[in-house]
Amino acid sequence: MKTSIIVFPGTKCEKDMAMDVEKISGRKANMIWHKETDIGNPDIIILPGGFSYGDYLRCGAMAAHSPIMQEVIKKAKNGTKILGVCNGFQMLVETKLLPGALLHNRTLKFICKQVNLRTETNNSPFTQNMNKGDIIKVPIAHGEGNYFADEKTIKTLEDNDRIAFKYCNEKGEIDEESNPNGSINNIAGIFSEDKKILGMMPHPENSILDYQANQNGKSLFEGILKEIA
């Protein structure tokens, strides 16, 4: 698997992603600095978490207009797979590669904790190693992860099997108490129409290695690997 990880000046989860990519695929990821314009020909592009350009405007808003993102958009249109996690998800909605917006958490506070996610579909290159209904526990760490979109968009996402994960309780029930940030319908992650782009707020990359709290993120990364190996 050839992976390119895009590094913005305020990106902070690139190390975590790179450790996992190497562990799971056996190949080192290419780290692409935001001022570069050549992404190469990766099988997958990863936009990791962080604070891209400081995010004093909206999270990911500045990054969305950077030259490197224009390259990412081109690659996306040619079918390269893209995984955006946390700030990466925020960039994907700011560039309109994914619909909707990510608002401030309803508590107005940054939240870091493990959450339960229910896998909504296994019909995607990312979730193909999982079963629909699988519950995975992975951490969130964000201040602006409250997914919002208009009713029509939500309906389109729901009707077209484009919701990847929803926040749920330990039994897999979607309830208000399990919604950490106020996202509509407890949405934690969504796909593009062709399912080649996944944006999600939780950090599966911190649930992979033996010494981490759990290894629930593995199935996701292995799914990606299986697709492009």
Partner: protein, 747 residues
């Protein structure tokens, strides 16, 4: 990207003449004013007087504390750099060093909680990466006023937001800390932040080492008018006018700091930097003086080239500004272009602002004129040092431990009261705002019932990238012990730190300290300081746990009311194999629970006494340092050979609280029994641990061989805590423990 400000002819800043009265407003007393005149040999300029006053402020000169700090033990074979550099450095093997320090931002955090705390975190991270280390963990020690005080909620909210805002953006996990409440902090909250970083031992950078005719380089954020005289403000008591000092608080920009961090670490890989100093308190003044003094050289600056955020700044303002996220470097001649290109990559301002000189003077030019020309050595070497008069603390009266009983409702009622009191209540509301997982190396994070790393231990455990090793990190101090008996309190802070590191299986290596006290000009307060240090020194020596860096924060008093003496210890230990790191949570049912160490039932200054008997009375518990070391070594041995499966030190709230916390951390209950008295279950005798083991016979044999006092008190299992057959469910205890802080903050 030098400042392109137009060449203006020398502006008139209307600076007043330097008189005794003016010096007094700068915080220099009459003798200090006279000494300054003698050194300069004429009436100093306004800029020069400003420089003297910040360099001789308590904050920068340690003038009241230096004499006593010299007595602390600072050496061990593994210490690479003790106090004196930006942070302490210890050898952790395999060519790696841990670099760490703790620093206070108390006064700014009272005046402007968010920015005060944020810039405190920013400043301490800079101290660590200035030395070439990548920060891998932050922890903090917070003390707030009593919950009923009208300011407390506002201060907590701002301080926690500031720590989160800065640390989270930097991508450095905040992995632990401690938070207490007491009326003694109503007007003076304490915000102490610690950063730990990792560097290669052959790539450590220092302020010392600069030679003659080398370029002086400024990198980082532009200089503005913020924080002028911040160091002076931090060296005086507060009064009702303190609100007006808000402009002396700096504003932080964590994004710029992140860029500065990455840019510095990239430049440090090149062979370009001779010496480096961050611009912290007293900004450009202290950094340039530091580099000059340590190199036995002079520095000549041209401030026209300093990147400036505001127009028409005076040399006085530029030299005293405490704008954040700035560094001063001495480069190898000829490396300017290389350094500049790296700074440009990271969009960091770069300017050559002067050169080093032979004459050991600090010369400052701007607007075509010289504003300062003073000798460096006397500015540093002749800085005032006071052996302030002190009075030893009154001997605390012992209380009769047997005269205290359980409240109505018995042992369980007492346990419930303690688990919900502010000092023991869950701090989840705080630590869930901190990203403790970023970097992916956090094995044990903050809190008891942890929802991040999902494991709890007595110290945070952070793995070192690409190794099996991990650092154990903890912050500790029990101010009520220090107030009642400063010598024992000082010993206890070090001993508890040692204990917390041992309880994880790590070997305690060295500490940093943050000495928070009231006004040293008051002999009783100076007495607290001297005696706490005496206790600390004894403990560090006996436990082979030297002090390698630290910070002193004095004048923590408002309208004459001092804080409790609060000498916080930041401890660092090393564990060779992360798989052996041990937490506090029980790991399975039917394990046998033991108390390690001797239980006498000391209730003086205990949490039980304060929260249940409503008395802050008695003497602090005595720490037998030989016992402390013996028990610590025993625990580490047991962990190493896997003879125990969970371990928790016994501190606030005694045996009953310790066992309860082990149950809350694991959701496995415990059935314990022992003497039916308050002093047995809630006494705070020192040097003790609770452990659980699957192999009690083997464990008892090792304890016997090592001459360790142990007491079997029960076994794990079920979903209740049962003390002498009085029961309460873990679920209820957890609810009680979790309820207080969020309810308080929402109310």
């Amino acid at each position: 990207m030098a400042n392109t400000a137009k060449k203006i002819k020398t502006p008139n800043f209307n600076e007043p003449e330097v008189t005794k009265e003016l010096s007094a407003t700068f915080g220099l007393n009459s003798d200090e004013h006279d000494l300054m005149l003698k050194i300069v040999g004429r009436t100093p300029t306004y800029t020069e007087a400003g420089i003297f006053s910040v360099m001789w402020s308590e904050h920068c000169s340690y003038k009241s504390s230096r004499f006593h700090l010299k007595k602390l033990p600072t050496e061990a074979p593994w210490v690479i750099d003790g106090p004196g550099e930006n942070a302490g450095v210890i050898d952790i093997g395999d060519g790696q060093a841990a670099i760490f320090k703790m620093e206070s931002h108390n006064s700014p955090s009272f005046i402007e909680p968010y920015q005060g705390a944020a810039t405190g975190v920013g400043g301490i991270m800079r101290d660590v990466f200035t030395m070439g280390a990548r920060p891998i963990a932050n922890i903090n020690a917070l003390r707030f006023g009593e919950p009923s005080n009208e300011l407390t909620k506002h201060i907590i909210s701002g301080v926690v937001g500031g720590i989160a805002g800065y640390g989270n953006c930097m991508g450095v996990p905040t992995v632990g800390g401690e938070t207490n409440f007491h009326a003694d902090y109503n007007g003076n909250p304490l915000v102490n932040a610690m950063t730990v970083g990792i560097a290669n031992t052959d790539k450590i950078f220092r302020a010392a080492g600069a030679g003659i005719n080398q370029p002086v380089v400024y990198i980082g954020a532009k200089t503005g008018r913020d924080g002028i005289h911040g160091a002076t403000m931090s060296s005086a008591e507060f009064d009702d006018e303190s609100e007006s000092k808000r402009p002396t608080v700096q504003v932080g920009d964590p994004f710029t700091e992140k860029l500065l961090l990455e840019a510095c670490l990239e430049l440090m890989k090149q062979d370009a930097i001779i010496s480096i100093q961050d611009m912290g308190a007293a900004g450009l003044t202290s950094s340039s003086v530091e580099i000059a003094a340590k190199g036995n050289i002079g520095v000549e600056l041209n401030l026209d080239h300093v990147p400036q955020r505001e127009e028409m700044m005076s040399p006085y303002e530029i030299m005293l500004s405490e704008s954040q996220e700035r560094m001063l470097l001495i480069l190898k001649p000829g490396k300017e272009e290389l350094a500049k290109s790296i700074m440009e990559k990271w969009d960091i301002d770069f300017a050559v602002i002067g050169k080093t000189t032979k004459d050991q003077r600090l010369k400052i030019n701007m607007y075509g004129k010289c504003w300062c020309d003073i000798p460096v050595p006397p500015l540093v070497d002749e800085a005032p040092e006071y052996e302030r008069p002190y009075i030893k603390s009154k001997k605390a009266e012992e209380i009769e431990n047997n005269s205290y009983n359980f409240p109505e409702g018995g042992v369980i009622e007492a346990l419930k009261t303690l688990m919900e009191c502010p000092d023991l209540a869950s701090k989840r509301w705080i630590w869930e705002q901190y990203d403790s997982l970023v970097r992916g190396e956090t094995i044990y994070g903050p809190g008891i019932a942890n929802t991040q790393s999902e494991r709890a231990a007595d110290a945070a455990i952070v793995k070192i990238y690409e190794t099996k090793k991990a650092l154990a990190i903890t912050s500790d101090c029990t101010p009520r012990y220090c107030k009642a008996n400063p010598v024992e309190g000082g010993k206890q802070a070090v001993a508890e730190s040692y204990r917390n590191i041992c309880a994880t299986g790590a070997t305690p290596l060295a500490v940093t300290n943050n000495l928070n006290f009231g006004n040293p000009e008051v002999p009783e307060i100076m007495g607290q300081f001297v005696e706490c240090l005496e206790g600390m020194g004894k403990a560090c020596k006996e436990l082979n746990y030297p002090i390698v860096s630290g910070n002193v924060s004095l004048y923590n008093a408002t309208n004459g009311n001092p804080i409790s003496p609060t000498p916080v210890i930041g401890g660092v230990g090393l564990i060779q194999d992360i798989n052996k790191a041990t937490g506090i949570g029980f790991t399975s049912e039917d394990e046998i629970i033991y108390v390690i160490g001797k239980t006498n039932g000391h209730l003086g200054q205990s949490l039980f006494l304060r929260e249940i008997a409503k008395q802050e009375e008695g003497n602090s518990p005595f720490v037998d340092l030989k016992e402390e070391r013996k028990n610590g070594q025993f625990i580490r041995k047991c962990i190493d050979i896997k003879a125990i499966s969970a371990c928790h030190d016994i501190s606030d709230g005694g045996i009953a609280v310790a066992v309860t916390e082990m149950a809350l951390a694991s959701n496995i209950g415990a059935k314990i029994s022992g003497e039916d008295s308050a002093k047995f279950w809630f006494g705070e005798d020192q040097s003790r641990y609770i452990i659980s083991t699957k192999t009690p016979e083997e464990f008892e044999k090792i304890a016997d061989e090592n001459n360790i006092e142990i007491l079997k008190i029960g076994s794990t299992g079920g979903n209740e805590i049962s003390i002498n057959n009085n029961n309460i469910s873990i679920k209820t205890l957890l609810e009680i423990n979790e309820a207080w802080l969020p309810q308080y903050m929402a109310g």
